[in-house]
Symmetry: C2
Subunit: 345 residues, 2 copies
């Protein structure tokens, strides 16, 4: 049975959304246990109020928690027993297989990076984001792609980009049941010579790597279209691109409403479409989906969105369990070992 | 009277759209003359077929032209008398004040960079793009912002970013009648310390520059929202961001149509909204607006979209005339001279 440590004190609706999410998971037919980490008396009291399977939920006390407005480094220094840190400890010690937090992103990345060992060949952990695209795939018409790094690092060397490719490919294989995810580098042109030197070099390295289904460079247009299952870029570029994707959803709605002011027929259309437009907004809010994995470490940490409700928390816990059971870290390590062998030939 | 050299042989509808666009301008009440550059007999014949003011249009022969699929460097080497190059010559020699082309972007940037002098303090010319935002400004409810560089260069030093800020600010002052355009750096966080070293340094330099209304960093979300009138970034980042903006319009429509399949009411709404959605698509197609200026040189070159029809060509010619008459290059030079003085203090 897979066990997931859940930071019960992080997120806009903590601890309520976390307690309810974990309760939902405990009633699921799949065997999966969780450890709720946080203010134990409070968590125990709240658990009593919701239907759950007590055999599948443990409560572990953590006396401190980190607020959204704290600086990550400072907060971790001042609060060594914060719930997110205790989660990382539980995973490192083998009491849990992976962790989930809906709290402070920087603190989650830092706690994972400090307490989990880095995989061989990985210089820095990466944060990956799942985002919706135009292209639908497979029998579930899955419209999602993975983009990484989106914030854990700033610059990225060619070797960093190769390690991100291995991370994203392994994660998509396990979590999206995609045996051969298409991996692409984000650049300013499709040709192998386009982009800054580190991207040109990463392109050559990835072309020589048989374990990764590298389809070449994608341009900005390829991101929303879903030209690749895994889009690889520096943390700086990924951060800008992802935040832009987030902003664009709102903007399109603003423009559509503006258009609606001009013509009665359009206004009627907008009225009929209101809930559809909300759906579009949801689809462009990348933070709604399961959660963003922190990859490149010996264990998986899933960063769920701060606004996660019980169902989103439950999804994040299931994704974490799937990643842990599927051996994502081992797959990444194997892929990078292959890259290392090739480079030394 | 301002005179604009127009590359009649570049663009999807060349020379027809160019001839018709220039004819429209010649009938405008504003005094503005143009030189149509390209296959003179052909241009003269076509001009005869459309209503125009012959006193305001000259035809200048250029025996060669550059196709969209040619490599810019190669093409310029092999075709020294290509229409886009002849336009640049006419401007450099004083026969015209600025130029417009709807042809090959790379060839336009290269022709301008080779034939116009670089302004003092400018290491490389930049290509700027006008794009639509959520925020509307002024009495015309103008929803446009400028982003640069979007492709003429790849990496950018702090000094390059400062020169882009000066270029964008001067252009917005003249062309958008915006006396104090808000200029921002595109980065991964609002704080002055966020982003790669060159952005952190450019932030400090711009803060010290009184001639530019620098409002700090904007994140990706700020691009579609229109958080700034001028967004400054490296050519690589600008290229990715702009192409993504282009792709997102199509994607949102795809998602909206997908939503429409699910519910009858939504489908009815989409039908009523069809032309409104096309408007949204137009608004997200940054290439529709007037044209992208190539800045940082002694003269202005406006790169109109390849798909430009007569009206878009006419707009590009008017924008070029406004930029030339308003002395954009001199304003950029003055702004950079101030930056230089400050740095040497």
């Amino acid at each position: 049975m897979v066990t997931i440590a859940v930071d019960a004190m992080g997120g806009d609706d903590a601890p309520d959304a976390l307690v309810r999410g974990v309760a939902l998971v405990s009633l699921d037919e799949r065997p999966l246990s969780t450890i709720l980490v946080g203010d134990a008396p409070e968590l125990t009291r709240r658990l009593r109020e919701v239907r759950h399977n007590p055999e599948r939920i443990a409560v572990h006390h953590a006396p401190e928690s980190i607020a959204m407005n704290e600086a990550a480094g400072d907060a971790l220094r001042r609060k060594p027993r914060a719930s997110v840190v205790v989660c990382a400890h539980l995973v490192r010690e083998g009491a849990a297989d992976a962790m989930v937090t809906a709290g402070h992103t920087g603190a989650a990345v830092l706690a994972a990076a400090r307490h989990f060992r880095r995989l061989p060949g990985v210089r820095r952990a990466a944060l990956a984001a799942v985002y919706p695209t135009e292209l639908r795939r497979g029998d579930k018409e899955d419209p999602f792609s993975l983009i990484l790094d989106v914030g854990a690092t700033l610059d990225a060397t060619a070797e960093d980009l190769v390690s991100f490719a291995a991370m994203g490919s392994s994660y998509a294989q396990v979590v999206s049941n995609n045996p051969r995810p298409r991996v692409a580098l984000l650049s300013s042109g499709a040709e192998s010579t386009k982009g800054p030197p580190e991207i040109v070099r990463a392109h050559a390295l990835l072309n020589a790597l048989p374990g990764i289904h590298f389809i070449g460079n994608v341009e900005g247009t390829g991101i929303p279209r879903g030209a690749a299952d895994v889009v690889v870029c520096s943390g700086f570029l990924g951060n800008v691109v992802l935040k832009m994707l987030e902003g664009v959803g709102e903007t399109i709605l603003g423009l559509a409403r503006y258009a609606g002011k001009e013509r009665l027929l359009w206004r009627a259309g907008l009225w009929a479409l209101a809930s559809g437009l909300d759906r579009v907004k949801t689809l462009t809010d990348w933070q709604e989906y399961g959660g963003a994995p922190i990859l490149g470490l010996g264990h998986v940490c899933i960063k769920a969105h701060g606004r996660s409700g019980p169902r989103a928390v439950a999804n994040a816990v299931k994704v974490a369990a799937k990643a842990a059971a599927g051996g994502v870290p081992a797959k990444i390590a194997a892929s990078l070992a292959q890259a290392d062998t090739l480079q030394n030939c």
